[in-house]
């Protein structure tokens, strides 16, 4: 548990400067600066269609940036290499996707990417601890991933990203399909995980109370 907040590493992790995004001829946001330090939990606040998801995709460099500069731990994306960047700035899509096979197979799959080789590899113990914190049995691992409910799929996507301990976690409505108890468990789990290293998170949520509970500060998007 984060019982020693003083020990938090508050150093600068991610910096994005002068971001701009157009959708067709509509300017969604411009001159956007964003800095994330260790322990930051940034909530994005804006009405639907204001480009919150697009901002997260932009930070993960999944779309060609239209303007702006980025750096992670002081290094530019090109210096990291894009796969490495996305391994460290992990984006969780609003509608998660799982491949064929069991939940475990889906958790193991990304370890095969060149970027992940040489890592610690899949850890049964770590995943089942998290599952327990989320009120799920280890048998969850043997479920057919293509038959999961929307909420279970969100849990799978969360664990799939968390197991790599990314530096920045970009969460797009991560609990939208979960019940209240599991939502609270996810928030608690994230807070513990964030406190365990130099990590930060950005959260999009339609639930204003969740932003209030979870976010340490907020960012309002405007053109």
């Amino acid at each position: 548990m984060p019982s020693h907040p003083a020990a938090l590493d508050r150093s600068l992790l991610l910096r994005a400067h002068g971001l701009q995004r157009r959708l067709g001829d509509r300017l969604l946001w411009s001159q956007l600066d964003l800095e994330l330090a260790g322990g930051d939990r940034l909530g994005l606040v804006a009405p639907s269609g204001a480009g919150k998801t697009l901002l997260l995709r932009t930070l993960a460099l999944l779309d060609p940036p239209q303007a702006g500069t980025f750096s992670l731990l002081g290094r530019a994306p090109a210096a990291w290499g894009l796969p490495r960047w996305r391994a460290m700035v992990s984006y969780l899509a609003q509608r998660p996707v799982a491949g064929g096979g069991t939940v475990e197979a889906n958790l193991r799959a990304p370890w095969r990417f060149r970027e992940r080789r040489g890592g610690d590899g899949w850890s049964y113990g770590r995943i089942t601890n998290w599952l327990a914190a989320l009120g799920r049995e280890p048998s969850f691992l043997s479920y057919d991933a293509e038959r999961l409910s929307g909420g279970e799929l969100q849990l799978l996507a969360l664990l799939r990203a968390l197991q790599f301990d990314p530096t920045v976690l970009l969460l797009d409505e991560p609990t939208a399909s979960l019940d209240g108890a599991t939502t609270a468990a996810v928030e608690a789990l994230l807070i513990v995980w964030l406190a365990a290293g130099a990590r930060a998170a950005v959260l999009i949520s339609h639930d204003g109370e969740q932003i209030q509970r979870f976010a340490s500060r907020t960012l309002e998007l405007q053109p």
Binding site: A60, L61, L62, D63, P64, P77, L82, P83, R84, R86, A87, S90, Y91, L92, A93, R95, P96, V97, G99, P110, F113, R114, E115, R116, A157, R160, A161, F164
Partner: protein, 272 residues
């Protein structure tokens, strides 16, 4: 060299016209079942007759030529038509798709047909149009199908698999790691018709070229040998062409920044 004008019984104008009556079977069926195909059937029949009669004249002229550049030029024109037609059937387009298709069709058919006339069949001279043009035509016809299938499947595969591809990218995959299953699937699908054709060759289908040679008086055993060479040519040219065109499309629809660039795809109205 097989002589052109011996062997098979020639078909007179009257007999040709008589064969046209066979289309009345279709027209009658269409009328009886109200299929509404009467017009298209007639149009298709007329087009087929006119195009083939014209091609007959063109080939007679072409086979009398003995200048390499001219014959190669005709071959290149055929390849161009094939390259453009291959794109016509796809449901989406991107900038450069025609260039990619032309490049793949031309490179693969030139390489394979070139090897065949210089190394395998060895007509004298190598550009002897009586060999080069029909061989090229058969290779092109099949490569075209492969490229069309492969391109369409690849683009649709990326579209329908977009979320999975981007999930992999977001988890640190390179663009190749994220897209390879779509690439593989497209190439596999494009090769299926060729593989199927080889599987049942001779059992279900007697290919046109072989039938032609046999009618012409060639020994079936000799005609079969030509067919074998042709099928290997078709298979390799299709594989090369499909590999090329899917590879180029992959390069266009992803970026060196390991992004999926489906914004470069344009949906086509109309054409199915």
């Amino acid at each position: 060299m097989t002589p052109l004008s011996s062997g098979a019984l020639s078909i007179s104008d009257g007999q040709l016209a008589l064969s046209g009556l066979l289309i009345l079977v279709n027209v009658g069926l269409s009328a009886a079942l109200r299929l509404g195909l009467g017009r298209s059937l007639l149009l298709a029949s007329v087009r087929m007759v006119v195009q083939l009669l014209l091609v007959g004249f063109v080939l007679e002229w072409l086979f009398r030529q003995d200048q390499a550049p001219l014959i190669v030029l005709v071959g290149a024109a055929m390849a161009m038509i094939a390259g453009v037609s291959a794109v016509q059937r796809t449901r989406h387009r991107f900038l450069g798709i025609y260039r990619n298709s032309l490049l793949s069709v031309m490179a693969s058919s030139a390489l394979v047909t070139g090897l065949a006339v210089t190394g395998l069949i060895q007509p004298q001279p190598w550009y002897n149009p009586q060999y080069l043009i029909p061989l090229l035509g058969m290779v092109l016809g099949n490569t075209l199908n492969g490229i069309s299938l492969g391109l369409d499947r690849f683009m649709e595969g990326l579209r329908s698999g977009r979320d999975q591809v981007e999930t992999d990218l977001a988890l640190g995959a390179t663009r190749w790691e994220a897209c390879q299953s779509v690439v593989r699937d497209a190439i596999r699908v494009a090769m299926i018709p060729t593989i199927n054709a080889m599987m049942v060759m001779g059992l279900v289908s007697l290919p046109g070229m072989m039938t032609g040679q046999i009618l012409q008086g060639a020994a079936p055993a000799a005609a079969v040998r030509y067919q074998i060479v042709i099928l290997f040519m078709i298979a390799s040219a299709t594989a090369l062409g499909v590999f090329g065109v899917v590879g180029l499309a992959y390069g266009r629809l992803t970026s060196t920044e390991h992004q999926l660039r489906l914004d470069r795809l344009v949906k086509l109205g109309g054409q199915g």
